[in-house]
């Protein structure tokens, strides 16, 4: 699945702008308008592969966002501890040039209890973190690899907080 042209341009523009210091270190060339000049290491197939990785990352983030959104709406007591995750997913999506577009969740139902719901969110976030780590390892562009790895680390930080979240007096 390749990104549509406007979105691809947006992704390149955003990642280029935000990752410029890293990319400069990586030896990439940048034009005055902020667009990226393909280096010998960034062939057309490599750029296409990176587009696919960005699309996969956006899909994984949006899937995680959907679940967090549904759980926070159903379990009011979890809305505050989950607010950070919602913001995280929004920020990361914006960085990749995408947009959060919540759709009715058709997959797993949200459990009734707070603890099972939180456990489901935790599993989903772990899955997201693994996905981002894997994509970072495969990315052709060094700056995209760094961006995705940083996102993986951001999710990992929130997993620490999720683990410590108290539900109904439980640690």
């Amino acid at each position: 699945m390749l990104l549509s042209s406007p979105l691809r341009q947006s992704v390149l523009r955003r990642t280029t702008f935000a990752a410029a210091p890293l990319a400069l270190i990586a030896g990439c060339k940048w034009t005055d308008d902020g667009s990226e000049e393909a280096t010998p290491e960034q062939t057309e197939p490599a750029v296409a592969a990176d587009d696919k990785f960005v699309a996969e990352a956006l899909e994984a983030i949006n899937t995680a966002y959907e679940l967090v959104d549904h759980v926070a709406r159903k379990h009011i007591g979890l809305s505050t501890p989950l607010a950070g995750l919602t913001n995280l997913h929004r920020e990361q999506t914006t960085t990749l040039g995408g947009e959060i577009e919540p759709v009715p969740r058709r997959g797993k139902q949200v459990p009734d209890g707070d603890r099972p719901a939180l456990d489901l969110v935790t599993r989903q976030e772990r899955s997201l973190q693994r996905t981002l780590t894997g994509l970072a390892g495969q990315a052709s562009s060094g700056s995209l690899a760094s961006t995705l790895a940083s996102m993986s680390a951001g999710v990992a930080q929130h997993l620490i907080l999720l683990k410590a979240t108290k539900v109904g007096g439980q640690a």
Partner: protein
């Protein structure tokens, strides 16, 4: 690639030195959780320093030497200050590893990703607020 590894190595030299000081300022009996965190971090940073040195030598480079001493990020007279200093160390490491990731591939990149995630999570365990993209 070697320049980024040298930068990461310089960061690890500093981390090892600073964690050595932090360990000496942390009571195992009074602050067991912090002591464990500092001790674990010290061992991990030593291990990473050694790995970076091996890779630089493998690439026919000369590993950048450690300085005699490093400036502490802040005073470390109590557990709160120790945590603050440790967070600073980890925060700097996330930045250097983000750069290293962008300059490596395959095994070395995977290793750098693990180091970045580890530093970022330790930051939070030491009391930092999470951010969307550590090291970015």
């Amino acid at each position: 690639m070697t320049a980024a590894m040298q930068t990461a190595l310089a960061g690890e030299h500093a981390a090892v030195w600073i964690y050595g000081v932090l360990g000496g300022q942390t009571s195992q009996s009074a602050e067991p959780t912090l002591y464990d965190e500092v001790s674990t971090a010290y061992a991990l940073h030593r291990s990473r320093r050694d790995q970076l040195m091996r890779w630089i030598r493998d690439d026919a480079g000369t590993p950048v030497p450690a300085d005699v001493a490093y400036e502490l990020p802040n005073e470390v007279r109590n557990p709160s200050q120790v945590r603050t200093a440790a967070r600073q160390v980890e925060n700097r490491c996330t930045s250097t590893y983000a750069v290293l990731i962008s300059n490596t591939e395959s095994t070395r990149r995977d290793w750098a990703i693990r180091a970045l995630v580890d530093a970022a999570t330790r930051e939070v365990r030491l009391g930092a607020k999470p951010v969307a993209m550590p090291g970015y």
